[in-house]
Subunit: 314 residues, 2 copies
Amino acid sequence: MPRILTLAGAQTGPIQRADTRAHTLDRLIALLESAAKQGAQLVVFPELPLTTFFPRWFIENTQELDTYFEREMPNPNCQRLFDRARELRVGFHLGYAELTPEGQRFNSAITVGPDGQILGKYRKVHLPGSVEPRAGARFQQLEKRYFEYGDLGFPAFRGPTEWHRAIMGMLICNDRRWPEGWRCYGLQGVEVMVMGYNSAAYDPNGGDGESAELRTHHSTMAVQANAYMNATWAVAVAKAGNEDGSGLIGGSCIVSPNGIVVAQAKTLSDEVILAEADLDDCLQGKEKMFNFAQHRRPQHYRRIVEQVGAEPPA
Amino acid sequence: MPRILTLAGAQTGPIQRADTRAHTLDRLIALLESAAKQGAQLVVFPELPLTTFFPRWFIENTQELDTYFEREMPNPNCQRLFDRARELRVGFHLGYAELTPEGQRFNSAITVGPDGQILGKYRKVHLPGSVEPRAGARFQQLEKRYFEYGDLGFPAFRGPTEWHRAIMGMLICNDRRWPEGWRCYGLQGVEVMVMGYNSAAYDPNGGDGESAELRTHHSTMAVQANAYMNATWAVAVAKAGNEDGSGLIGGSCIVSPNGIVVAQAKTLSDEVILAEADLDDCLQGKEKMFNFAQHRRPQHYRRIVEQVGAEPPA
């Protein structure tokens, strides 16, 4: 008996600084409804889809910065999404900027079950960018300024019975390029990895000359190979297009445990992608090639935890 | 000034059990000469290219088993290859079955500089297969029987001045699917990864139904993504074709630090692939996206060394 979980990615086009939260939420709900109509059981939204990707701006005013953050989840700003999802009995994965009661800020995500219950929470570990703004640059990448490093590690969790109690894990954006995070989930037997991203289509300040095509290749390849090497399904979902003058790649994809792209977005706009994932497709990899208990040799992996940066030989 | 190192992969077709060692060595020398003529500075040979892939046989007689092993390197059986390479001032990477004076057996590889000096040695860490033969199976995979697990870890080393003192690392076959090994080299600043493989094109006993196309995809994708995630060049070289009745994938490839395949074998026969690798192409990744010192968070990676097998959540 196959264990089918119907996965959807709800890519969004750009969400401009000038867009109201209500308008943005309407777009997310429309995507959710479209996915649910196609049979989706779990709908994956991008990183920070409730607002523009604000770390591109140097925001000195704390009150202004706070407008991008959620103090609890759900909250009145996004309650309608939670309500509609529960009505449709569809789960979802949602990124958001988190402001805790203690005043800590994280780039976070939750996965919500079909009954509206929060199944798991994740805080981004691999924050790109810098603490200090780049002088004279029109566009910044200030994630290291606005967020603390995720402090929850990589905690796998189980889906509900109607998702066959799938073992699930979350990453956010840049995390998907770091095999360490994937492996920590692989070591918990993960079957479905979900993640959103906002990835620049080019250096908005005209720096390195990488094309959108190359950057989409990087993104897709990282998801493919890490899904394969951990024998898991993966859903990676972009916020795409020209957002406030800065380009974001699309390329949202659903990838099988063989590292094969089974669905991929064709636009840079609001777009649903869908795949019927048989969770038992993970078994071949987990029992043979990537049978960790049989083949891993952790005594030789110590550099991975004992040093941070590269240390070249003499 | 670019730091160019001209890399070659010397894929071989099958090497049958009935082939003499002298005949096989002639083929390797012909590949070396062809690569050198095209300007190669380093020629990468497959895993265990001096003989057939003998772990597919259950060999009970130790004297017979010993005929597949090298007691020192070089030795009279392969001295001609070393001599010709030194004459041509070309380096090479060579896999071999190693039998130590103490009687230990490893699946090993060396990299030899243009002056004939052995620059580095590696013993395969991720041995696939089993210790006990599968009853009734025509073909075995007995690497875990014939070899001990590599005990040298993942030691990077430097090439000579004429290779711009490139930082280099070696893996063997199945190792290329394990991101832990790649990361240990990445953490030593590796610029060129070299590896040979013998990978079954299908289950020779008719088991899992994976196609040669799928398996070649797995192989190439693993090399691409791990090269990208560690910002290194990579050369992965197959023994290919129908060897003693069992099919081996080809797909030998040279991959850039962007994870792009810049050269790939088209046949399942003896074939040279070549690329001019600018070692400075690694800098973009090492200084930005994969600046480990800035972005890695080892305190969250402890599962990687603290557990071996997968431990699913309750």
